[in-house]
Amino acid sequence: MSGVTPPAWARRLLNLALPADGGGEIVGDLEEEYVRRLEAGAGRGAARWYMREAVRLAVAFGWERVREGRERRRKAVGIRRWEVGMLEGLGKDVRFAVRTLLRAPGFGAVVLLTLALGIGATVAIFSVVDGILFRPLPYPDPDELVMVWADYTRRDGPTREWLGYRTAMDLESESGAFAELGLWGGWFPTLTGRDEPAQLRGAAISEGMFSRVLRVSPELGRTFAPEEDLPNGPRVVLLSHGFWSSTFGADAGVIGRSVTLDGQPTTVVGVMPRGFRAPFIPDAQVWQPLGIPPDREDRGAVYLRSVGRLGPDVTVEAADTRLATLSERLAAEYPRSNTGVVYDVYPLHAELVSTAATGLWVLLGAVGLILLIVCVNVANLLLSRAVSRQGELAVRAALGAGRRRLARQLLVESAVLGLIGGVLGIGLAYVGVDLLVSLAPEQTPRVDEVVLDGRILVVALAISLGAGLLFGLLPALRAGRADLRSALVEGGRSGGSGGGALARSGLVVAQVALAMVLLFSSGLLIRSLQELNRVDLGFEPENLLVFGVNLPASRYGDGERRSGFVRLLEARLSAMPGVDALATTNTLPMSGFDGDTGFRIEGRPPPPPEEPQTVWIRRTTPGYFDVMGIELEAGRDFRPAEDAESPRVVIINRTMARRYFPDQDPVGQRINLNSESDPIWREIVGIAEDVKNFGIRRESDVALYLPYHQAASTNLNVLLRTTIEPTSVARAAREELSAVDPGLAVALLEPMTDLVSDTLAADRFITVLLGSFAALALVLAVVGLYGVISYGVGRRSRELGIRAALGARGREIVLLVVRGGLVLTGTGLLIGLVAAVVLTRLMENLLFGVSATDPSTFVAVALLLATVAAAASYVPARRAARLDPARVLKSE
C-alpha cells in the first residue's frame, strides 16, 4: 500500500456502496481530507484512516439503501397491498423451506441426488436433441435451403439418385423455383511439399455455393470467381478454419500462397470462418471449384449432389410442383436418360438429420420417462416424510396456519427442492453433454453444433420447477385435506390415515409401469443388436488390414500407370513379414461407395430405356476372394495374367446369377457394360457369394467384379490378411508406400473389424444409452418398491404380530408380504406392457430382425422385474417374520 494513493479496494468498495448520484462527490471529499492528512505528515495513518472511513460509509449507505427500499415498498402498499403480501409470504415460505431442508440433510441429500441425476440426464439429452433436430441450420434464412434428388423408382432405381450436370443446369434455369442451385462432389486430394504427404478431405463445389446459396463469407480472402469454376481455370482452393490453424499456423499471409495438391500447385484464395461447416462433408478441410465444362451435354452420367436456395417466396411444395412439371418436359425431350425420372425438392435440415431423427426422439422420450420416474420417486419420498411431519404440520395448523397455506408451504418446499436439484442437474448436464458428444457415433449429423447455452438453461429451469410442482402436488394436496387433529391425538406415530399407503402404492405401480416401458424398449434394442451382429456379411473381416490410397489423376492419368503402381505396391507389401496374402479392390464392402452402370447380356434383347438393368461394380485384383474369405460358388478368380491386353472377363455375384441366369450356367456367358453402339463383351468366369455392400441392413443387390488391371481406378484399398495383429503391420506398410511413391499419402489404415464395427456404431450408442436408462429405472422402481413394502410392514406390525401369535409360521408371513409386493409389481407390469406395446411402435425403424411387440422379450423382461421385485419384498418380509409377537403387541 503506497502512502500516496489510497488503497484501491477501499475505493472500489465505495464505488459499489455509494449511490450513483452524489457518490462521486462524497469520495472526493474523502480524498481531500486524505490528502490534507498526508500533507500533515500522517503517512500510513492516513491510509488506515481512509480505510476506516470508507468501511463506515459503505455500511451506513448500505443500510440507507435498504431503508429506502422498504420506504418505497411501504408507499406502494396502499395501492397493491395484496401483491406485496403474497410476495412477502412467498419470500417467507422460501426461507422456511430452506430451513426445513437443512434440518433433514440426509433426506434432502437423497432427494437432491435423485433429482440432479434425473434432471441432469434430461437436460443433457435435450441439449443434444435440440442442437441436432430443433435448432435451425447456421446459415441465413435456412428455411430456404433445400436438396434436390432424382427419383428413379419408376426405373427400378433409388428414390434419391444424384444429378447430372446438364440436368442440374436445366432445373435451375427452367423451373423458376431456385434463387440458385449449388452443386458439389467429394474431393480427396493429397497435400505434399510439407513434411509427410497428407490425405485431405474436401469437396468440389460450384462457384456460388458459399457466397450465394449458403451466404457465408470467408473470414479471410474470398470465395471462387466464375472464371475459376471452369475446366482449365486457375487452380484455386479454399481452406477451412481448423485446417488453416493447424497446418498453416493461422498465418494471414497464406492468402495468395501456393500449395501442392495432387501434385499441382494451387493458390489459396480464402479461409472460411471458425466453426463453419458445409451441409456436406462436414469435416472438409479444403474446397475447390467443380470446374465442369459449361457446355457439357451428357445427361446419363450422374455424379453431382446439390444444395439449393429457393427463390423468394417460393415454398417447398411450390418448388416440388414446378420441378414435377419440368421433370415431365425433360422426360419427353430426352427419353433415354429421363423417362420415368422425377426430380424432388427436400428441405435441407430434414435431409441432414433424417438418419438420426428417430433415434434422437426415442432417447428424448426415454429420458422423459426417467424424469417421470424420478418425480414419482421423489413424490414417494416426500409422502413418507410428510407422514413423519404430520405432528409438526398439525401443530402449525393448531397455531392458525390455514390448510391452504400449509399446502402452499409444501408446494414451495417442493419447488425449492426442484430448483436446487435442477441447478445441480445442470452442472451434471454440462459434463453429460460433453460425454455424449464425444461418444456419439461419427456419422451423427450436426453433433458439433450441440451446445448447452442460455436457451437450454431456461428450459432446464422450467423443467426443474415443473418437476418440483409435479412431485410436490400429491403431498401438498394431502396436507391440505388431512385431518390434522387426529394426527395430534395419535401423537403422530403410526402415520394417520391409510390413504397415505394407497397413494404410495399407486406411485410404486406407476414406477414399475414406467420402468417396464424402458426395460422392454431396451430389451428390443439389445435383441436387435444381437441380430445385426449375427448377419452373415459374406466375407471374413478378422485379421484383415485395410490400406487405402487415392492416386492423383494428374500423375496417374491412365490405366497403365495405375496398374503398374498397384502391381508394385502389392509385390512389396506381400514381402512384408506377417502378411499372409493380399489383394486390392477399389471400394470396400459395406461402404456403399460402389459405382453402378447399365448392362446387357449377350443373346438377349436389350432392356427398354425406361427399365434399364443396372449392376454395382467392384474392381479387384487376383486373390481378392481368397483374402476376403468370399466363397466362389462356381468358376474361378481372376488370373494375374489378365490385364488390359487380354480378353475381358467378369465375375458375377450369386444374386445376379439367380436373377438373370435362373436356368442356365452363367459361366461362359458374356455381358456388355459399355454403350450399345460400342460394346465390349466380357466373359463371366466365376460366381461369387453375395457380400453386404451397403451396411448390414440392406439386402444384397445385383453386383459384379471386374479385374482391377482391366479397369483401373484411382482410388484403391489393399487388403492384407495378416498372421499377427493387423495394426502391427501398419507402420511397415506406410514405409512401403513411401518407397514406391513418396508423394502419396495414406487415405485409410485400419483393421477391417473396426470398419465393420463402425457401421453399427449408431445402433450400439442408442442401445447402450437406453439400456442405462432402463437399468436406472429398474433400480429406482425396486428401491421404491422396497420402501413401500418396508413401510407397509412397519404399519402392519400389529396385525402381523397377531397373526404370529395365532400360530402363523414365519414362512406364511413371508409369503404374505412377498405376495403383496408381487401384486404391486404385476399391476405395474400389465400397465407397463400396454403402454410399451403402444410406444415401441414408434421405434420400429430402429429395430432389426425383431418385431416391436416381440413376446419373448416381454417374457424375459417380466421375469426380470418379477424376480427383482420378489427379492426386494423378501427382505422386509423376513424382518416381519422375525418379529417377536409378544414385544409387538406389548408396545401398543
Binding site: G28, D29, A60
Partner: protein, 109 residues
C-alpha cells in the same frame, strides 16, 4: 408541525449550512458541526442527512469544478432552500416558545 418532521441531526446540518453560507460542502459541514458541538459526528450521518434533506426538498445542491487533490472529483455544494428555511423558522419558533423561561435549567453544566 407539517408533513415530514425535521430530526434533531437534520436540524443541525441545516444550521451548519446556514453558518457556512457560500461554499458549504461535505467536508466543511462536517467540520463545522464537530467544532461547534464538540461531538465526534460520523461522516456518514452527515451525508445521509444531506441526502434525506434533499429528498424532502429542504436543501438544494449543485456540483462544482473537479480538482486534482480530490482525485479528479467535483465538490457538491449545498444551500438551504425556501422550504427548508420555512421549516427551520417553524422549529425555531416552536422550540423557543417551549424553552422560554427554562434557560437556567438547560444551561447548567
Amino acid at each position: 408541525m407539517s408533513r415530514d418532521a425535521l430530526g434533531e441531526f437534520e436540524h443541525m446540518v441545516l444550521l451548519a449550512i446556514l453558518r457556512l453560507g457560500e461554499g458549504a460542502y461535505g467536508v466543511r459541514i462536517l467540520e463545522e458541526i464537530r467544532e461547534r458541538t464538540g461531538r465526534d459526528v460520523a461522516r456518514a450521518a452527515v451525508y445521509i442527512a444531506l441526502r434525506r434533506l434533499e429528498k424532502k426538498g429542504y436543501v438544494e445542491s449543485w456540483v462544482g469544478e473537479p480538482t486534482p487533490e480530490r482525485g479528479g472529483r467535483a465538490k457538491r455544494y449545498f444551500r438551504v432552500g425556501a422550504e427548508g428555511m420555512s421549516q427551520l423558522r417553524e422549529s425555531h419558533y416552536a422550540l423557543s416558545r417551549m424553552r422560554e423561561g427554562l434557560e437556567p435549567l438547560l444551561e447548567a453544566q
